[in-house]
């Protein structure tokens, strides 16, 4: 009982903070920032405790709370940790204080509202990950749009209104069809069992004919794929990322995109396994197209933030590839890759924010030879670049390597009898790694080396606060790269369960 309270606390602390901030009389910006940081650190400590106490050898939910919410419909306030979400909860809590501390100097207007919205989105993201009830999941999933709309729209760049409306309208369109699918799924389930239930567990047992599964998967997948985003549904991402304030970009890249892949892993694929297997070739192709297309687009950008935004599309393609490989190593690699990308992209966006604060431009052509001007900055940037490429000892290596291994395992011996597609996909994904090295190293070369040039000199190197933030990112990246056994042990059972569920058939048996 006491243990589940901690998870509830982790979830609801940001709400307390938000209400406190909105109702508080005008405090000084300094006090607000301190309060926000303290609250996020508290959340991180509690989440870290949960992570340590989480037992990977136990199947099913831990730290579970299940209370009736809407009795009539069988909706429950049902939250808990399992192997699929425990790492993502830890990642969300880890990024919280970094986002808050990273915006101390960047956000100067309407500070109170800003931190209230950061709390709100933290709550919604955490809720999406821990929810074990489809209704609750959907509520959190959609609620996330509200703070993001404001974060991009109020504190964003020049084209912020366009970017934020595009983001919200794009994602809401996916969600509305998902809502139709949710209603249909629950209703058809209630036709069989006689009572409505939104519990993931109940819905996961409900047999569905292949046709219905396909439609429902399509609706869920549209919503999730927009969020991931998978090519060709990615066009909102560069705009949102470029216009968002640094904190918004870190939240977007760090956690929000993972909600899409998490959705596929937790709901989309296991709920509709037969349809998933039928669409497997298409999903594989889309994943690898995301990897390659994202990388190619990253190559030709001239805006630093856009390069990293497109690299996100490419990196999340690996996550999708791992998930659809249906190989245990690949699935676990996908989970690690999600966390790794959150750390690496989060760190890179933070670094872009730091240079932007100093020079007010993100055009790569304006920069050069920063290694001489900003040595500390350059060291951190180089480490993050190498992590993004997937150099061994960094988290990027663990994730990508396992995903590729999984993709080859799936291709050899061929699962899909006589089909050479998985092999083509796996080989192309390897080409993506090369492209990744190309655009990231090229970016580092143009930014850090060569002729010294910067919009206005002299400017200061990193201050202590910025060093601390980046150090946290780097330590986490190496920790995950050097000691992946811990997280892998915690996720193994859940990954196995996911694999079995997607490989099992849920088409109702024909009446004799």
């Amino acid at each position: 009982m006491a243990e589940s309270t901690v998870l509830n606390l982790v979830l609801w602390l940001p709400v307390l903070g938000m209400v406190a901030l909105l109702l508080a009389p005008h405090g000084t910006d300094r006090a607000i920032r301190g309060f926000a940081l303290a609250l996020m650190l508290l959340q991180l400590v509690l989440a870290a405790w949960l992570y340590r106490r989480f037992d990977g050898a136990v199947a099913g939910l831990q730290f579970e709370t299940r209370l009736p919410w809407i009795r009539d419909w069988g909706v429950h306030y049902h939250i808990g940790l399992d192997g699929l979400n425990v790492l993502l909860v830890a990642l969300t809590a880890f990024l919280g204080p970094l986002v808050v501390a990273g915006s101390f100097t960047a956000i100067r207007k309407q500070v109170k509202l800003f931190y209230a919205m950061v709390f709100f989105i933290q709550f919604a993201m955490m809720g999406t990950f821990v929810a074990q009830d489809l209704f609750l999941f959907y509520v959190f999933w959609e609620a996330m749009l509200i703070p993001m709309f404001l974060i991009i729209g109020i504190w964003g760049g020049e084209r912020r209104i366009y970017a934020t409306l595009k983001f919200v309208l794009y994602t809401a369109f996916g969600s509305i069809l998902m809502l139709a699918a949710v209603i249909y799924l629950v209703w058809s389930q209630s036709q069989v069992t006689g009572s409505m239930s939104f519990a993931f567990a109940d819905l996961g047992r409900h047999p569905l004919p292949l046709g219905a599964q396909s439609w429902l998967l399509a609706a869920f997948a549209l919503s999730f794929a927009i969020k991931v985003p998978m090519v060709p549904l990615h066009t909102w991402l560069p705009d949102a990322h470029v216009e968002a304030p640094t904190a918004g970009s870190v939240i977007l890249a760090g956690v929000l995109l993972k909600m899409g892949t998490y959705g596929f892993m937790k709901l989309g694929f296991p709920l509709f396994p037969d349809a998933t297997r039928a669409f497997l070739p298409a999903l594989m192709i889309l994943s690898v197209v995301s990897i390659l297309y994202g990388a190619c687009l990253a190559l030709v950008q001239t805006d630093i933030k856009k390069i990293i935004a497109y690299s996100s599309i490419s990196h999340l393609g690996y996550v999708m590839l791992g998930l659809v490989s249906l190989d245990l190593v690949g699935i676990q690699g996908a989970i690690i890759q999600m966390v790794s990308h959150g750390l690496v992209a989060g760190g890179l966006f933070t670094m872009v924010g730091m240079i932007y604060e100093r020079c007010h431009t993100r055009e790569l052509a304006n920069y050069g030879g920063l290694a001489k001007l900003l040595p500390v900055y350059s060291v951190f940037f180089m480490i993050l670049t190498l992590a993004s490429i997937g150099l061994p000892t960094t988290s990027g290596f663990t994730g990508e390597f396992m995903v590729l291994l999984g993709a080859f395992n799936a291709a050899w011996p061929p699962h899909l009898a006589g089909d050479s597609l998985p092999l083509v996909v796996a080989v192309s994904a390897v080409a993506g790694v090369v492209l990744g090295a190309l655009y990231m190293l090229w970016l580092a070369q143009r930014l850090l080396f060569g002729e010294v040039k910067a919009p206005h000199q002299p400017f200061t190197d990193l201050v202590a606060r910025e060093k601390a933030i980046l150090l946290a990112f780097v330590v986490a990246i190496f920790a995950l790269g050097l000691f992946p056994q811990g997280p892998l042990a915690k996720t193994e059972l859940a990954a196995r369960d996911y694999q079995q569920r997607v490989l099992a058939s849920r088409v109702p048996e024909a009446a004799p």
């Binding site: 809407i70 009539d72 309407q110 509202l113 959907y138 729209g153 919200v168 069809l177 139709a180 209703w187």
Partner: protein
């Protein structure tokens, strides 16, 4: 005549009547107009409590057999409607000092109560007319601008057309069944007779006209814009609720069959889409709300496609969520120097800087009206579409959801104006009046409770 039964079961109506007479008497006697407001609030609150008491005790009775009956299913909507009228009265205080305003509002509420309890066509007709007639006067009462008179006239003419259509429909059904019971409508739903079908179509068309469903919606934007803010709030909330409850009374729990399904699905679907799209182009807050309410009327009629109990659940929950949020918008809207200015959407620009709480409340209302979770509007939308889907109309449900998506943009635009736009020079400042704050809290607190515990209300429906 069972006088004690009449006294108890019609207690809310009696209290409204007494309130009306008291206000009239007061005006004759003292001429101190301010007291009209106090009396109106007092008697409406008393009537709401009375309705709630009837509901809580589970009182059932028919003081006028086959014409007027009372039960939990009528007491609850009455309580909801009367409770929603309270914040509307509170925001009226600064606009309307005259006593006739309050008399008219109470009279209209009396009509709405009659509609909810009606068992026969004459009672229903009387109720609808008593509910609507005072509103024609209310629209023109403030005469804040020249268009008010035009708006009132348009509303009156089209309201008259609705009345005529309703009467024609009733006479068809009477001719077909020989009965003036509301049950005749249910019988007609199950028949294929052309006369019965014509009756149903005419009565439904009259309801569509009153609730402003496309293509019978043209009066609404003009009337809403011409009226003053509290009257607009009253029309968008109470009148709409009254009409929908009348529809609920007529359709009851009878499932709808093929030809009527088309009638109930297609026009409301067009309303949703058209209301949401046309709202994007509006520069006036009230016109925008008018188009939004056209779309919401669409959702509400959609709920009739569902089965009996689900219908009731969806419509009442929807009316509560929608009503609270609609009144909240009008309570939180800043008062401008003059009416025309106050009504411009541009005046909302930069509102968060000036009046953060007002901006947050309007945002909550907008997001709820847009049906975004976790706000109550989402649960309401969910209920409606769940019923449509459960009745087997998957296509209509998906189309309706997509139509509801179209509304997202203009609701978000209001938030964009308040939070992301620079302030207009010369925007009104000053803090809100006490009564307006009370009205906002009366809407906000139940809305927040409904957001946290939607199950509490759903279990009771």
């Amino acid at each position: 005549m069972n006088w004690s039964l009449i006294l108890t079961s019609m207690l809310p109506e009696h209290l409204l009547l007494v309130g009306m007479l008291a206000i009239l008497g007061l005006e004759i006697k003292s001429g101190r107009s301010r007291d009209g407001f106090g009396f109106a609030v007092l008697f409406v609150a008393a009537a709401a409590v009375a309705a709630l008491w009837l509901y809580a005790t589970g009182f059932t009775g028919a003081p006028f057999l086959h014409h007027f009956s009372v039960g939990p299913a009528t007491s609850l909507p009455k309580a909801v409607l009367l409770a929603l009228a309270l914040p509307v009265l509170l925001i009226s205080r600064d606009d309307f000092a005259e006593t006739p305003y309050y008399t008219l509002v109470l009279a209209s509420l009396y009509g709405a109560c009659l509609v909810i309890s009606s068992d026969s066509f004459p009672t229903l007709f009387l109720g609808i007319e008593i509910m609507s007639l005072p509103v024609y006067a209310l629209v023109v009462l403030g005469m804040l601008r020249a268009q008010s008179a035009e708006a009132a006239l348009k509303y009156l003419v089209l309201g008259g057309a609705a009345t005529a259509t309703l009467l024609l429909g009733i006479s068809f059904l009477y001719g077909w069944s020989g009965s003036l019971q509301l049950a005749a409508f249910s019988w007609a739903l199950g028949s294929n007779d052309p006369l019965a079908m014509a009756g149903i179509a005419l009565i439904t068309a009259a309801l569509f006209l009153k609730a402003a469903i496309v293509p019978f919606h043209a009066w609404a934007p003009d009337a809403y814009e011409g009226a003053s803010a509290p009257v607009t709030a009253y029309m968008a909330t109470i009148i709409k609720a009254g009409v929908l409850l009348a529809a609920l009374r007529l359709f009851g729990t009878t499932p709808v069959l093929a030809p009527v399904v088309g009638l109930l699905a297609i026009l409301p679907l067009i309303s949703m889409a058209w209301g949401n799209l046309a709202a994007i182009r509006q520069a006036s807050v009230r016109r925008m709300i008018a188009y939004s309410s056209i779309a919401h009327a669409g959702y509400l009629f959609y709920a009739l496609l569902g089965d009996g109990r689900g219908r009731w659940e969806a419509i009442v929950f929807y009316l509560v969520a929608y009503g609270l949020m609609n009144v909240l918008v009008f309570a939180a809207l800043p008062r401008g120097a003059d009416d025309e200015r106050q009504d411009r959407l541009d005046t909302l620009k930069g509102l968060y800087r000036r009046r953060p709480f007002a901006a947050i409340m309007i945002s909550i209302a907008m997001l709820s009206l847009a049906g975004l979770p976790p706000l109550p509007g989402f649960v309401a939308k969910f209920l409606v579409f769940k019923n449509v889907l459960a009745a087997g109309y998957t296509g209509y449900a998906v189309a309706g959801l997509v139509a509801s998506y179209l509304g997202l943009y203009f609701y978000l635009r209001v938030i964009q104006y308040m939070f992301m736009a620079e302030e207009e020079p010369g925007a009104a400042r000053g803090s809100p009046r006490r009564y307006v704050v009370m009205a906002s809290l009366l809407c906000l607190v139940p809305a927040v409770l409904l957001m946290l515990f939607p199950g509490w209300l759903i279990d009771r429906l």
